[in-house]
């Protein structure tokens, strides 16, 4: 069984964020975590080729990178593709998911991957592969490798893969003993009687918030700036963590007309900080917003900016930060928010 492995610049050994612009490339055989996967497969299948791409390059150039990566994968004539594991790395997870999607749709061969449950790539692309639940960081590689290999081995052996991965959300046909109408009436009777019953088609849970009303007159509105890109005053006074942030910061805009290398930097550890540290306006557009306020295009600016690092940060933490921020904004009669993300 010929397997091709997709990984990012970090796991290929090129480096971290400073190498995230790496264009796609392919190599024969296993690279990085591929060696451990090969060993775990015990000769039942082999990684014959590895395709590598930088996370920023892939996500910023989806339309070019996707076909490039796909054609490199195809050149190895694989029977199966493994992606990641991507843990809770957002851009890596998105890339793994997108690769799974095109391999599933174009090559029609199985895909096995590994992602943390909160990785955004999982929600979007889980139907295109067997994604094994992993921990939220690369320290859990030792657990992820055997879990992924177990599914790969089942596929190679031609066995049904029924567990050990995130539900794909696909329906599978089977012959039931009772017809649908009978099952539905039985379920209804159980419900009326207050007994337990199991639905055959769980409704998806959409946690959506209705759009807020449009601002009628921006020249009278008070605006606030919030960011998950980690913009903080020089020196990161609150020591916001570079990943898995446990807090957000609140900083005065009173003395800032624009950012320089001396008054601002990013605390975010999930992208190359060079550009943001030179001019933080690239992440938090204080310079132009203040000018627009002075020119009367915006009514006024809330006197603080709020910042956290959205790098592997738990959804529950982000919710808690945002609730606290929103209450402060309401107290100051803020009408609308620009929220920037990196």
């Amino acid at each position: 069984m010929r397997i091709v492995h997709y990984i990012n610049q970090f796991f290929a050994g090129y480096g971290g964020e400073e190498k995230a612009d790496l264009v796609p490339e392919k190599r024969d055989g296993a690279v990085g975590p591929g060696a451990a996967l090969n060993a775990a497969l015990g000769g039942t299948g082999e990684i014959v080729g590895t395709v590598i791409c930088g996370d920023s390059y892939f996500n910023e150039n989806l339309e070019i990178a996707t076909p490039e990566v796909l054609s490199m994968i195809k050149s190895f004539s694989p029977d199966m593709v493994i992606v990641g594991p991507g843990f809770n790395a957002g851009r890596y997870g998105m890339a793994c998911g997108m690769v799974a999607k095109v391999v599933d749709e174009e090559l029609k061969i199985p895909v096995v991957g590994g992602l943390y449950e909160e990785n955004p790539g999982l929600e979007i692309y889980k139907r295109h592969g067997y994604f094994v639940p992993t921990g939220n960081n690369a320290g859990t590689m030792r657990k992820a490798v055997p879990d992924m290999a177990a599914i790969v081995k089942k596929i190679i052996a031609g066995e049904a893969v029924t567990e050990g991965f995130f539900e794909k959300g696909l329906r599978v046909n089977y012959f039931a003993e009772k017809r649908g109408s009978t099952r539905a009436v039985e379920m209804l009777l159980a419900k009326i009687a207050g007994e337990d019953f199991t639905t055959e088609y769980p409704m998806p849970v959409f946690d959506r918030v209705a759009p807020g009303p449009a601002i009628k007159d921006m020249s009278k509105a008070r605006i606030a700036l919030v960011s998950s890109g980690g913009p903080v005053p020089k020196g990161n006074p609150d020591r916001i963590e570079s990943s898995s942030a446990s807090k957000f910061g609140k900083y005065s805009l009173a003395d800032v007309t624009h950012f320089t290398p001396d008054n601002g930097e990013t605390a975010h550890g999930g992208y190359d900080p060079v550009y943001a540290n030179l001019s933080l306006d690239r992440v938090l557009p204080v310079d132009v917003v203040k000018e627009m306020v002075a020119a009367g295009q915006i009514g006024s600016l809330h006197q603080y900016w709020y910042s956290t690092v959205g790098n592997g940060t738990a959804v529950a933490s982000s919710k808690a930060f945002a609730t606290e921020i929103a209450q402060e904004l309401l107290r100051d009669d803020v009408d609308c928010v620009i929220l920037t993300s990196t």
């Binding site: 964020e17 995230a20 920023s56 996500n59 910023e60 957002g90 851009r91 998105m94 955004p120 979007i124 946690d207 959506r208 918030v209 759009p211 807020g212 009303p213 449009a214 601002i215 009628k216 921006m218 509105a221 919030v226 998950s228 890109g229 190359d272 900080p273 060079v274 550009y275 943001a276 030179l278 001019s279 306006d281 690239r282 992440v283 938090l284 557009p285 310079d287 132009v288 000018e291 627009m292 295009q297 915006i298 956290t308 982000s318 919710k319 945002a322 609730t323 921020i325 929103a326 904004l329 309401l330 803020v334 009408d335 609308c336 928010v337 620009i338 929220l339 920037t340 993300s341 990196t342």
Partner: protein
């Protein structure tokens, strides 16, 4: 965060580069930006042009906030 702030009744425009993530998390007004390490800039441009680019993007974000939307919208 976008969604939780909007839940409190304050409209939010999300300026970000990886739009599919923004759609998945439930932002209602989305303005696509330049690149992950510099969403509101472009270091390859001279400073004046870079600022002009930023001004255009912020203007677009303000326009998004002034636009009624019934569902998730990418501006």
């Amino acid at each position: 965060m976008v969604k939780e702030i909007e839940r409190h009744g304050i409209p939010v425009v999300h300026m970000c580069t990886v739009v599919p993530i923004s759609v998945t998390v439930g932002a209602n007004r989305i303005v696509p930006t330049v690149a992950i390490p510099y969403p509101l800039g472009d270091p390859s441009l001279p400073p004046a042009e870079e600022k002009e680019l930023r001004r255009k993007l912020v203007k677009k974000a303000l326009d998004a906030l002034c636009t009624e939307v019934a569902e998730q919208t990418v501006f």
